[in-house]
Amino acid sequence: MESLNDADVQLARLKKWLDREQRARAESEAIAEKALSELYTKKKEIELLQLITVAANEASTVEQAMRTALDGVCAHTRWPVGHVHLKDSAGVLVSTNLWHLDTPERYKAFQSATEAVTFAPSAGLPGRVLQQRKPAWIVDVTKDANFPRSKAAQDTGLRAGFAFPVLVGEEVAAVMEFFSDEPAEPDDAVLTIMAHVGSQLGRVIERRRSEDALKLASQHKSQFLANMSHELRTPLNAIIGITEMLQEDARDANRDSDSEPLGRVVRAARHLLAVINDILDLSKIEAGKMDLQVGSFAIAPVVQDVVNTVGTLAAKNQNVLKLQCPPEIGSMCADQTRIRQALLNLVSNAAKFTENGTITVSARRAFADATEWIVISVADTGIGLTAEQQGRLFQDFVQADASTTRKYGGTGLGLAISRRFCQMMGGDIAVESEPGRGSTFTIRLPAEGVSPQPPELPKAPSKGPSKSPPPMARTAVPHRAPLILVIDDDDSVREVTTHFLTREGFVVTTASGGQEGLRLARELQPDAITLDIAMPDLDGWTVLAAIKGDPATAAIPVILMTIVDEKNRGYSLGAADYMVKPVEWSGLARVLRNICKSAGRGVLVVDDDDMMRSGLRRALHEDGWKVSEAENGRVALARLAEQRPDVIVVDLLMPEMDGFELLDALRSNAAWRDIPVLVLTAKDLTDDDRVRLNVGIERVLQKRDRQELLREVLDVLDRCIERRRGESVAVS
């Protein structure tokens, strides 16, 4: 009995104990679960903060960082709507296009209601945050007295909302707001973390602002430099032009004692100009305002040309200049002018710093990084560079040694500029050197160029078929020498230009302003116009637009002559060419001659040899011809039917329909009979052949050396056009 009772007591005690243990265990589990869930939330918060910190550091724009924050906060809170308001200069919050919308369709009404209004301090949820500079929470916006969008919220089913400021220092720069589908009590953890988000984003804005300020300062600097160099170049132009004129006169009168010092003035002035140009180039590159004229061109002629240019300088120091650039290297896509400039810089540096040595310029193709590269190297056996000098070499405003500037001249900017150009084209310049043994500079450029902006510029408007005037149109003033109209407000420019162009065999008329220029262009129908941009009455852009807009003058090629380097604008307005002052007279004369002799002239090239055709096309094109091509006689006839060329260049031996047959076909058609024909052939002509060719053939050229042949073709074509012009003038 006693023991039974004992056992009962024992059992009851154990049961109690078990109950207690179970309770304690349940409690432990609850504690563990709560701790885990808190841990999870903390982890999520950290992830969100990390996401936003990374975005804040790495996003390239403020918008991008804010967008990441919007999406991140919405994912964290699982709230469907988030939006950013930016404070404008008036201190009012303006809606942005930065939204996070889980289902955009559904919240459309709320979105438009938001975007329709601005929020002044204390107005609505964003306004409240703007005023108090701290987060705000609304349990249910549809029941809130200060929530102007409550109707739209009601309609779209939005209830709870919170917003927090993006603070830059003490200033609210933006407000981010979020909405949920359910009413919700304020969540301290969320609000705390949002304060962090806000300050992170604030840092992004702060950084952006200081970057903008820097950029603006740099733009001001560039603008200042541009203005300054304009101010400097204008008088310098006058000095160079007038001095050249005086020098010319002195030379003509055999007054060498006068001519020599004048030559020195011109050289000094040109050097000064080069320095100014370099500084301007560099500041433009820095300001991101340098535009490239990317196009496809044959490499060999460019390299050859540079080598020719430097020839004299190299010879002066008893240097041998070697060129290794096979024509098979073909073409590349880049800014030809800039490559020429960079290469010229390297080769002339080599020539300057080498005496009794060898300078080797070589160009080749190379494959690397899945890209085809054009590699042009300039190796000299000159004084070379120490490692330290090499390091400083490409820095702006630094020459290897300050004393070299004095000894060898130059601004020390050339290399830095050249390198920037190459970098802009996706390549670079590198140097290898050993003091006393020589240096090798290597230009490396992608053969296909970088993101080729399509500069399909209407270089010569007269080339367009609709604008191409019949040759008879320009007969108002009978003249053999081409007439050039010079429009410039600067007396000295007009005087100097007239002087040089007259010497080059042009007839020149001048106008001192836009209005007068337009009138003369209409009356005289000149063969070409040179036009200044900065003129007081009507600026050059306006004049250019007026010339191109008037059918009576639209076809006249216009060459812009200016200090302002805005090529693209010029070309897009229909300028035929663009020269930056001071004008290189020989260059201008060349351009004008090209324009005047073959403007709008069409030539048909008939040859089955692709290489030959493309060689001719390039050469003729450069000379201002409008080229059409055919690979045999039959295709040629089709082209003839489309458009009657002014001249035909034809090969004799071709498949399908050969040159002889084509010539027969031409002669039997009255419309084509008197088109001048130039025959190119590799065939040794038999007497029989000669008889067949005898009639109506301008000239027969044997295909031998290609360069020479091209030159001859151009010559013959020029002469034959010249003759026609004389005829047409005479006819009138």
Partner: protein, 182 residues
Amino acid sequence: MKGVVFNLLEAVIRRDYGDDMWETLLDAAGSHGAYSSLGNYPDDELMKLVGAASSALKMPPDDVVRWFGRNALPLLAEKHPHFFASHKSTRPFLLTLNDVIHAEVRKLYPGADVPVFTYDTSSPEVLLMHYRSPRKLCALAEGFIEATAGYYAEEVSLDQPECMKRGDDRCVLRVSVRKPKG
């Protein structure tokens, strides 16, 4: 007060006075007796258990607490041997209480409200530990310290020139430790 303290009390009572005694104390204190080591329970509940033990064992409450501390500490040392292993004697161990031991306790038992001691180490023989806590558990500290000396096989003499229980605004625990002779 952390549940772990209740667990310790339960363990030493059961061990030294039997299961029935713990049941008796719980009943007397009106406690459900379910304590999770991680949970937090009212200080008052511990004091009621101490009061119940005091009546049942016919011991002043402070003596109960001191006894508890003396007996609980070896259990703590068993559970967390590394706190003790890094020292060879009582004094350096006591000096790490704030920075190491109770600092770790705060991590192991979230929400633990451990005391912060300030030390007067001007004498190499006598260590003065200043204690301030609304719980006024200086007796617990005494028990812990005595047991710690036991752990390192040292002799300790302890008294309190100042004590909150006697109306001072802090307790000063005067600790002098000797290596046993022989």
